[in-house]
């Protein structure tokens, strides 16, 4: 009996060791959920592993949390979408530099019936103002993610205070983009989303895009290698290889080729 237990323990330890041994063949990217949920990494990885000997492990959380995790050195690369926060991250010595990678846009999602009647608006700020004045349901993520920060910036630019989450119409979910979309769909509410998450979202029901193509809605994604001076264990050489590849012609073409139902999800930042 004792021998049996000993064998089991040794077996378990060895399975763990195999996990530890394969440790060095990857880099960890702290990323936003929008990039993962669209299938971006599977698409990129497919091409990337063709001529590289390491792979990419992605931890997808909101931009705010991704930055916090990266500050704690739990990443080799930070890949998010809120430029001011990214620049601050680099300025504070956590990242080496910030490089633009790609962009798409934020879109205003709402119920087909459009209770605030904003479907003919071209300007996001006017639409938000009307939703607010009419007190129609609006879902906010409230999690310091890139999308949430964008939304707060827009409210501020309307020159009004940020709506208070005690107000019945302003629903703060504190959840990721997809979970918030699920809530918006069921609450008959408006919501700001990045385009790729919405296009790949599977539970649209009665909701659709009501406003897009407004310059303030641009959504840029920047990539940052973690500073090895601050995090000695960060795999800077591998991170540089990946970033160089992603912003090369090959990487940028791969980004452009990602589609969902015939719509391109991300647009390369560099033209070749």
């Amino acid at each position: 009996m004792r021998k049996f237990f000993l064998k089991v323990i040794i077996f378990l330890c060895s399975t763990f060791n195999s996990v530890v041994k394969s440790e060095d063949k990857f880099i960890i990217i702290q990323s936003t959920t929008s990039i993962r949920d669209s299938g971006f990494y599977e698409h990129i990885q497919k091409k990337f592993v063709e001529d590289h000997d390491f792979e990419i492990k992605v931890v997808a959380v909101g931009t705010g949390q991704a930055i916090k995790n990266a500050e704690k050195c739990d990443a080799d690369i930070l890949f998010v979408h809120h430029k001011p926060s990214e620049l601050k991250f680099v300025r504070n010595g956590f990242g080496v530099y910030r490089k633009d990678v790609m962009y798409n846009e934020f879109v205003l999602i709402g119920p087909k019936e459009d209770p605030a009647n904003i479907r003919n608006f071209k300007k996001i700020k006017l639409a938000l103002e009307k939703i607010r004045n009419k007190k129609k349901n609006f879902v906010t993520r409230g999690d310091q993610s890139g999308t949430h920060k964008k939304e707060l910036e827009l409210w501020q630019q309307i020159n009004q205070e940020i709506p208070n989450n005690f107000e019945n119409w302003y629903i703060e979910t504190g959840a990721g983009m997809g979970s918030s979309l699920n809530i918006a769909v069921n609450k008959n509410a408006y919501i700001l989303s990045d385009q790729s998450t919405w296009l790949t979202f599977g539970n649209k029901k009665n909701h659709k895009i009501l406003l897009k193509n407004d310059p303030p809605l641009i959504n840029t994604y920047g990539i940052i290698p973690i500073n090895p001076e601050n995090c000695p264990k960060a795999k800077n050489d591998k991170a540089e290889i990946f970033i160089k590849w992603l912003t090369s012609k090959e990487g940028q073409m791969q980004i452009n080729s990602l589609q969902k139902n015939g719509t391109q999800l991300f647009f390369s930042f560099y033209a070749f």
Binding site: V8, L12, V20, K57, D74, G178, N203
Partner: protein
């Protein structure tokens, strides 16, 4: 209501078309939770036996703590483990963050109190029945502990299964410490959370059905074994 049934019929189709990705996820779930369960029993059962047979200092306090830790919030466990094992945390040099190892550790912490607490109840009962007899034949503490653990094996299985149930169904801790990384730390429950957030409700439900089926078959196997071995032991 129609929508609800549609989801279920789609879910069953998905299960029938199961691919290797799905098996990978199921396998990792089982590996993490069963390993956590094994180590929890290794630690939890002796603690329980010790609490029952020995009157050491702080015994009652330990029992109270174990009882209240049964309701430990998984998210808190995940968060604390994350802070400890983060590369800039005190134990960051182990480099086990975002690996199945730390997921096992998280589940271990969550289920040790359950197994220990529930076993204490069971063992106390058995000890009440046996104590006089065992002391009269001059058994020492160690023999008593082993005897009651062995004789309580059938009710103890229930305690262990409760622990396994908690481990298999837990999501809050492992999504933080594991990171839900595709092909590395993605398990059943984190996949369900992910697919729900992507709005793929059919897929999420089908994964849930598989999870239920899994724990159903584990429980069925155990109860069959229980019955079988009981029959043998009465011979």
């Amino acid at each position: 209501m129609d929508y609800f049934f549609q989801i279920f019929s789609k879910a069953i189709n998905l299960i029938l078309e199961a691919d290797s990705d799905l098996f990978e996820i199921i396998f990792l779930s089982l590996k993490v939770s069963l390993t956590a369960l094994f180590f929890s029993c290794l630690i939890g059962l002796p603690i329980a036996a010790l609490c029952v047979i020995k009157c050491f200092f702080g015994r009652n306090i330990l029992i109270i703590i174990l009882n209240s830790l049964m309701g430990l919030p998984p998210v808190l466990v995940g968060l604390v483990l994350y802070l400890i094992f983060s590369k800039s945390g005190p134990l960051g040099f182990f480099e086990i963050l975002y690996t199945p190892t730390i997921m096992t550790l998280a589940q271990f912490i969550l289920i040790v109190p359950i197994i220990a607490s529930m076993s204490i109840q069971v063992l106390e009962q058995i000890l009440n029945e046996y104590e006089e007899m065992l002391t009269s034949i001059g058994a020492n503490k160690k023999d008593i502990a082993l005897t009651i653990l062995w004789d309580a094996r059938f009710p103890l299985v229930t305690c262990v299964l409760a622990g396994l149930g908690r481990a298999l169904s837990e999501v809050g801790a492992i999504i933080i410490v594991g990171g839900n990384i595709a092909h590395h730390t993605r398990v059943m429950t984190t996949s369900i959370a992910l697919e729900t957030s992507k709005g793929n409700l059919e897929l999420a439900v089908s994964l849930g059905l598989i999870l239920i089926f899994l724990s159903l078959s584990i429980n069925a196997t155990v109860s069959a074994l229980k019955k079988l071995s009981k029959e043998f032991s009465y011979d």
